[in-house]
Symmetry: C2
């Protein structure tokens, strides 16, 4: 049966979307290898069959699932014999909270830093769309946003503190082995290295660097296999 | 066998410590009713038997456990037939991350608002200690900190966003029923209502207010049973 993941395509065949990386890594965790289908920002009609306009969208035979969280839950429920993404009902509930913290905390802190770079990384066909939507969101030009990079990096610092603390206790956020909580967080770092030629982590972030490198190695280097900057090599 | 919880005592018999509330609620979740032993900030010698100076400390027969996270794990492991605090190994791992996010995110945002109030709520014997340690931490007087309350409340607003989002999906952070993730977060709100006569939540925070009220009702109103301001009634 067809297993297809519709994901965002950017310039130079880049695949930066953190939401799509959540799905990519969840699929790999379950031992599943989808065919990738690409969707530019201005090609929302390509996923209209899913009843909405965003990626990722997973097609698994007759099933069509949109939204990265729904995809993770679908995989957990329909592939119960493969390694667990959540390790129990409590893990699913708390991972959902971590998902929302990533969306409204970590990603928000990162997006102010990355948006100007993401413009250059956007597919040429999407750059007008990307500029217009992001400048409307931030209320200023992406060039003006870029001038405040140092301020945003400073604001990111305390947001990373719970991550540092956790990695001082165990090699992965989910403990001895990576699971969905790790994918939620790593997807943001993968977004960063996909669009930005300057590392968002300072040289002294040793625990985060070690973890990020381990995450890049997972699943035969899945996250290393795409076009990206080697800032996190 | 003796079951005793050593916790912080403040003025008017108040028990504001969020760390101690994590332990109080975890014990209640397991159906356990400890005897409470009080410790002022300047009475660290009262828990010296635990090999460290902080509260909470749980004494369960021969076992002595300090640190709220260690206490939660101890209760989960030694009372496996009582309702689970984590609902699985994934729940424990992710709850630990949420614990660190509370410590370094939510609590940090709240402490700037609450510290000036906590001075008045501190036991009279502890006020000099409290002022000295907190003013050293903040690098300014508690009175100077208090003048910036509006700024700190504004900074708290985005920190609450993942909480709001989660409560739009389910009645508790842990899903249909409260578990340790709820206690971690609620303990911060209990700290607030224990020391501060002004609600930290705006009137329009409906989901958070409903959840907080439910949490106050748990275990026969355990959190309502202590001296506090009725800002969250």
């Amino acid at each position: 049966m067809a297993l297809e993941l519709y994901e965002r395509l950017c310039a130079d065949d880049r695949r930066p979307s953190p939401y799509c990386w959540r799905a990519r890594l969840a699929l790999a965790h379950k031992g599943l290898k989808p065919d990738y289908r690409t969707v530019k920002f201005t090609e929302a009609d390509r996923v209209a069959f899913s009843g909405q306009s965003k990626v990722p969208v997973l097609v698994d035979g007759e099933a069509v699932i949109s939204d990265s969280w729904n995809i993770a839950c679908y995989l957990e429920d329909h592939y119960p014999d493969a390694p667990s993404l959540f390790d129990g009902s409590g893990g699913r509930a708390m991972a959902r909270f971590v998902n929302l913290w990533v969306d409204h905390g970590l990603q928000k802190a990162l997006s102010s830093i990355l948006a100007p770079y993401a413009l250059a990384a956007a597919h040429p066909d999407d750059r007008t769309y990307y500029r217009q939507t992001r400048e409307a969101r931030y209320g200023e030009s992406l060039e003006a946003l870029a001038t405040k990079r140092a301020v945003f990096l400073e604001a990111l610092n305390p947001v990373l503190e719970p991550l540092r603390q956790r990695l001082n206790e165990s090699p992965f956020f989910c403990g001895e082995r990576p699971a969905y909580g790790d994918y939620l967080i790593f997807a943001e770092f993968q977004w960063a290295r996909s669009v930005c030629d300057q590392d968002i982590l300072a040289a002294e972030e040793s625990a985060l660097r070690v973890w990020r490198s381990c995450m890049l190695d997972l699943f035969d280097g899945l996250a290393r296999s795409v076009t990206a900057y080697d800032t996190a090599a």
